[in-house]
């Protein structure tokens, strides 16, 4: 699974720490997500998508 967090974060002018605080996780988790090292839970994926006002599938790209 890949994601557009880094791109969307830059567009919204948010730092990793800002996003982490908005979705109530550690900054380290955002770093891991952006590097594609960690697949988030459905709740976290939903929370992140909500911050960017997008659907989950627009932020997280599921590959077959």
């Amino acid at each position: 699974m890949t994601n557009r967090i880094k791109e969307l974060r830059a567009k919204e002018n948010l730092t990793q720490l800002d996003l982490a605080q908005l979705v109530d996780v550690r900054r380290e988790t955002i770093v891991f997500l952006e590097k594609g090292k960690y697949n988030p839970s459905l709740k976290l994926a939903y929370d992140i998508s909500k911050v960017f006002k997008l659907k989950i599938e627009e932020v997280f790209i599921f590959e077959q």
């Binding site: 109530d24 550690r26 900054r27 891991f32 090292k37 960690y38």
Partner: protein
């Protein structure tokens, strides 16, 4: 809670220094050699790691940041499982080679220290391979 952890760490560190000083004075020999040196090195490594992680956590708490989330919990559970398995093998080897230890206290103390070191190493490995 924050203050308690800090106080506990300081007390543990001071106790360690006092015990070490007491051993050096009463033995009047060089304790910094062989197995003793290895145990002291492990104690220092574990102590420094514990201190740094407690300090980082404290800083994060002070800044009003989340200190635990789903990723940190996942790392904790996964590394705990691996550390438990690795520790079992370590104890097996310790008991197989028990004749190599000078006394039971050294064997058990060394084993406990190695367990804590294994726990840290396991955490580092799990962090690197979280998606595997």
């Amino acid at each position: 809670m924050k203050k308690n952890r800090k106080t506990l760490l300081i007390i543990a560190f001071l106790t360690l220094l006092v015990v070490l000083g007491f051993i050096i004075i009463t033995n009047k020999t060089n304790v910094f050699k062989g197995l003793n040196l290895l145990i002291i090195v492990i104690i220092l490594i574990v102590g420094v790691i514990a201190f740094i992680s407690a300090f980082k956590k404290d800083q994060e708490e002070k800044a009003g940041l989340t200190t635990e989330d789903e990723l940190s919990n996942l790392i904790k559970y996964k590394s705990g499982y691996h550390a438990y398995l690795a520790s079992m093998y370590m104890w097996l080897f310790i008991f197989l080679f028990k004749d190599k230890f000078p006394d039971v206290e050294t064997m058990l103390g060394g084993g406990i220290l190695m367990s804590s070191l294994i726990a840290y190493i396991s955490k580092v490995i799990v962090k690197k391979r979280i998606n595997d």
